[in-house]
């Protein structure tokens, strides 16, 4: 890997880890969403160092362009209540969770760092590897695989996305004004009927009491 590639790796790794810390620690969800955006851009840079050009573009299009925007829209829709006030009651359980995860992560990272010198390093394309090496990860190479070997999966994913969109609309959609009015009218009618029934019952019991008096 060239010096520029090494520098890009360290830059993107630093920004990626820093923004991930910011995403999970910031109190305001909007700020966390902006940190997530920064994280996604940094990871797109990392994909470039791995010569996954098409995936880097997809990462920016899908994550930065759609997912983060969806998060921001939701936060705006919810408004000031999107921020949860601190609660000391559950602090112990949550600290325990973080400690366990930190322990596991430290173990995994230390293992990876220990075996790291034995793992291969990146080399640029040599002349005898030919033009195919330079194509790796490009739109053409990945698109060919996508539309030949895994075309069924590709079509299934489009069905999945369609179902997800329909499901999202069905779950998030509240009552329309008309439906809310109809529900209110039904509720009022039921309450009126109950009141009438109660009045009739009271009248009957009063009559029974009067009758019993004789």
């Amino acid at each position: 890997m060239s010096l520029a590639g090494t520098l890009l790796f360290y830059l993107c790794a630093t920004i990626g880890v820093g923004s991930a810390v910011a995403t999970v620690t910031l109190r305001s969800p909007l700020r966390a969403a902006v940190a997530l955006l920064l994280h996604i851009v940094a990871l797109a840079g990392l994909y470039l160092t791995l010569s996954a050009h098409f995936l880097a573009a997809l990462q920016l299009l899908v994550y930065a362009g759609a997912v983060v925007v969806l998060f921001v829209f939701t936060i705006m829709l919810i408004g000031p209540d999107a921020e949860v006030p601190p609660n000391a009651r559950t602090f112990g359980v949550r600290a325990l969770g973080v400690a366990v995860v930190a322990l596991l992560t430290a173990a995994a990272v230390s293992t990876v760092v220990r075996i790291s010198p034995q793992t291969p390093t990146l080399a640029g394309c040599t002349a005898e590897q030919g033009a195919e090496c330079g194509q790796f990860g490009g739109v053409g190479a990945l698109g060919r695989v996508l539309y030949t070997d895994s075309v069924i999966l590709f079509e299934l994913v489009s069905v999945l996305l369609l179902v997800a969109v329909i499901g999202a609309v069905a779950v998030a959609r509240g009552r329309t004004t008309k439906e809310a009015e109809a529900a209110k009218a039904r509720r009022l009618a039921r309450e009126a009927a109950e009141a009438e029934e109660e009045a009739a019952a009271r009248k009957l019991s009063a009559e029974v009491a009067a009758h019993g008096g004789h």
């Binding site: 991930a20 999970v24 949860v84 559950t90 390093t121 997800a164 999202a168 779950v171």
Partner: protein, 101 residues
């Protein structure tokens, strides 16, 4: 020189951060963002392994599908957050306990 181990260590760290965030935060929105962090870390591992074994594009293909599924998951998850907010007027995950009582 940058080796495969560098990418794996970075991805492990990001996955750990996402898991810790998911366990420790009570804001559903930030928990969803933590899930995105974990999915992204897995994507880095897939793409890195594929780069060091460039005979085919299996890893990048997997990362492609993970991105698509993550987008679907975010859409459904956020719509659930909206309907939770409609019901409870809060996005605190501790208050999502309708099935508990």
């Amino acid at each position: 020189m940058i080796s495969l181990g560098h990418y794996l260590a970075l991805a492990t760290l990001i996955f750990g951060l996402g898991a810790a965030g998911f366990l420790s935060r009570r804001n559903v929105l930030i928990q969803l963002m933590s899930i995105e962090l974990m999915l992204n870390a897995v994507n880095v591992v897939l793409v890195a392994f594929n780069r060091f074994h460039p005979e085919n594009h299996a890893g990048q293909l997997f990362a492609f599908f993970v991105i698509a599924v993550a987008a679907a998951e975010a859409a459904v998850g956020l719509s659930i957050v909206i309907s939770l907010f409609r019901l409870k007027k809060t996005v605190e995950s501790d208050r999502a306990d309708l099935l508990k009582h």
